[in-house]
């Protein structure tokens, strides 16, 4: 795990408003995103987050910051 399970849960929760409102923002610039695409995109985001979070931690943490 890269982050704790609690943090993963919170990250997923935070992605919800972003994914939903991405559709609104896209429509401002004339791109109409269908609902089904939004749903698929949300699923993709969740899967990606879970995948990233469950990767083994990096061996040498970067010293930048």
């Amino acid at each position: 795990m890269r982050i704790s399970r609690g943090a993963l849960l919170v990250l997923i929760a935070m992605s919800v408003p972003i994914v939903i409102e991405l559709r609104t923002v896209a429509s401002f610039v004339g791109i109409e995103v269908p609902l089904s695409v939004t749903l698929a995109l949300s699923l993709l985001v969740v899967v990606a987050l879970v995948f990233w979070a469950t990767l083994p931690p990096k061996q040498e943490p970067e010293s930048t910051g």
Binding site: L9, V10, V16
Partner: protein, 578 residues
């Protein structure tokens, strides 16, 4: 190093009682919340639309009067006894204000709930704002008065504790949590004068039939005189927990004691002289007064931004104590597994969103765009419905074990519950804001009109309705999970291994605070002067134009007479046949 209940077993019992009163209200409120959500989105209609205001009144009153205030008197009692490290002066007195508040609640609840039963000639479908021309059964006003007097006595209880402590510690600064409680209570005393006058001088005599008419604009203005500061009455206990508990959970200490004191003083000064910002569309108040209210409101941003800064800085400090590094990577070092921490952090985040939509409400000219639309409930479900409610629930995950001596039943479910509230509220509140922009009204059982369609800029109204309904359902489930967890916790076996009830010293302590900040008399005086400045002229002109008890008009509901009922029936049947 011990839990609260070990040091103050008797006070813990009062706090438990207050919390449970609050939770019962939350249960009822959440139930009605779900019903009305499904009703207005036309998904399921269990009740008749004519009962909608009964449901909405119950939801509003149980949520923002009973749930919030019972919880906060518990928190304040905890904060004062913990930070002064002394029990209440007289337990009998403490129980008596609790009982008065409870009795008041029952008296208020009876006429509200009687509204569902046609055979009882009693109703209080006046919404939580209860100004004329909506009229309730006298019992509603009597109950409300008792409840408010109960809170006054509670305040007196905390002041007594402080005076007793001060006589033993004459040269010490007021401990920060007690300072927060006292300034909040002074604000509350000033604010509740408005509804005390409104109820005792006008609404109660009117509902008893002692006076024929009242001046509706006057009762509205008196309500909103109280209606803005009451939001800070809900919010200050949440702030108190953000300032005292959140840094502790994050593994650190509060950043600055002086800044926290400044924030609470500013709220004391600025909470009340702004109420007219709820009346931008009231024709009887001239623009100039509204402009002053708007200016004062914008000043209120300052303490809120100070809070955001102090609390986030304290959390970051905590994260770095726990080994967090980097610009953003420290966020990962926070205790996200702790429901008390995560709930409060998410609540704070939503409060920021609520603050932004509040800026729209507060602007005199853009307010016209969203006034009385669903945008407004969208806004305050972020503030009182999440920043306050979720902070209270998260706080309960830590405080309940402290006052019961029993460990939390399930931490994972608690964590899931707080996150579910956040997600549910995202759906519901977001869609409410957007629906409001389309002009969909609030306080409406059936906002679906024949021959007229609201035009959605993006997506469709059906989609927005679906989002509101999904969100409302998730919120309801979340509330049930919370209540269930609390119930099981109360039946848990006591444990010896609870975290100890200490509030860590701030990094920059009270010695750094200018002594004048503790001069409560001075701040009270300035607060009163500001209120007089902001309200004397508007009130004078309202009374001047309409008179104290005029210009009147008919009360609603009109007293039901058999002919009226018959007429209503005929109308309804005709409507149905069309």
């Amino acid at each position: 190093m011990s839990a609260y209940i070990d040091d103050f077993p008797e006070e813990a019992a009062v706090i438990r009682a207050a919390f449970w009163s609050s939770f019962v209200a939350l249960a009822i409120g959440a139930f009605f919340g779900l019903i009305q959500t499904l009703h207005r989105t036309d998904i399921v209609r269990i009740f008749d639309s004519t009962d909608y205001y009964t449901i909405l009144t119950a939801h509003g009153v149980f949520m923002v009067i009973t749930f919030t205030i019972f919880f906060l008197v518990g928190v304040f009692t905890w904060a004062v006894t913990t930070s002064l490290d002394r029990g209440v002066e007289s337990l009998r007195f403490t129980w008596s204000w609790y009982l008065l508040m409870s009795l008041g609640t029952v008296f208020t609840a009876i006429p509200i709930l009687a509204g569902f039963v046609d055979s009882i000639d009693m109703s209080a479908d006046v919404l939580f704002t209860f100004y004329a021309p909506l009229q309730a059964h006298p019992l509603f006003y009597i109950g409300l008065t008792m409840f408010v007097i109960g809170t006054w006595l509670a305040g007196a209880d905390w002041f007594r504790s402080w005076w007793a402590w001060k006589s033993e510690n004459p040269s010490e600064r007021i401990p920060l949590p007690t300072f927060m409680v006292l300034t909040t209570m002074i604000m509350w005393y000033i604010a509740t004068l408005g509804i005390a006058v409104s109820i005792l001088a006008f609404l109660l005599p009117w509902s008893l039939g002692l006076v024929e008419t009242v001046n509706p604009l006057l009762t509205r203005t008196l309500f909103w005189y109280f209606g803005h500061p009451v939001v800070y009455f809900w919010l200050m206990p949440a702030y108190l927990m953000w300032y005292t508990l959140l840094p502790k959970f994050a593994g650190g200490r509060l950043f600055s004691d002086p800044l926290a004191r400044v924030v609470f003083v500013l709220f004391l000064l600025l909470s009340t002289p702004v109420g007219i910002h709820h009346q931008y569309l009231d024709p009887g108040i001239s623009e100039g007064f509204k402009f002053i209210a708007m200016t004062n409101t914008m000043f209120l941003l300052l303490p809120s931004l100070l809070t955001a800064f102090t609390v986030v800085a304290s959390i970051e400090h905590g994260a770095r104590q726990r080994g967090g590094e980097g610009y953003f990577a420290w966020l990962g070092a926070l205790p996200w597994r702790e429901p008390a921490f995560t709930g409060m952090a998410l609540a704070g985040l939503m409060f920021a969103a609520g603050g932004f939509s509040g800026m729209i409400n507060a602007g005199m000219n853009i307010n016209y765009l969203i006034h009385n639309t669903l945008w407004v409930p969208g806004h305050f479900h972020l503030t009182v419905g999440t920043a306050v409610a979720l902070t209270f629930m998260a706080g309960a995950y830590w405080l309940m074990p402290q006052v019961t001596g029993k460990p939390l039943a399930s931490k994972p479910i608690a964590l899931f519950q707080t996150v579910l509230w956040f997600v549910g509220m995202t759906f519901m509140s977001n869609a409410m804001h957007r629906a409001g922009l389309l002009g969909i009204p609030r306080r409406t059982a059936e906002p679906q009109y024949e021959g007229f369609e609201f035009q959605a800029a993006v997506g469709s109204v059906a989609e927005l309705d679906a989002q509101v309904a999904i969100g409302g359902t998730l919120l309801f489930v979340s509330a049930v999970l919370f209540l269930w967890n609390m119930l099981i916790t109360s039946f848990n076996r006591p444990t010896e291994t609870l975290p100890s009830n200490v509030i860590p010293e701030p990094l920059s302590g009270s010695d750094d605070s200018p002594a004048v900040l503790d001069n409560l008399k001075l701040w009270t005086l300035i607060a009163i002067v500001l209120v007089v400045l902001a309200y004397s002229l508007p009130l004078a002109s309202i009374v001047d134009r309409g008179g104290l008890f005029g210009p009147g008009g008919d009360a609603f509901p009109v007293r039901l007479s058999p002919t009226l009922v018959a007429q209503l029936l005929v109308d309804t049947v005709q409507e149905g046949l069309r």
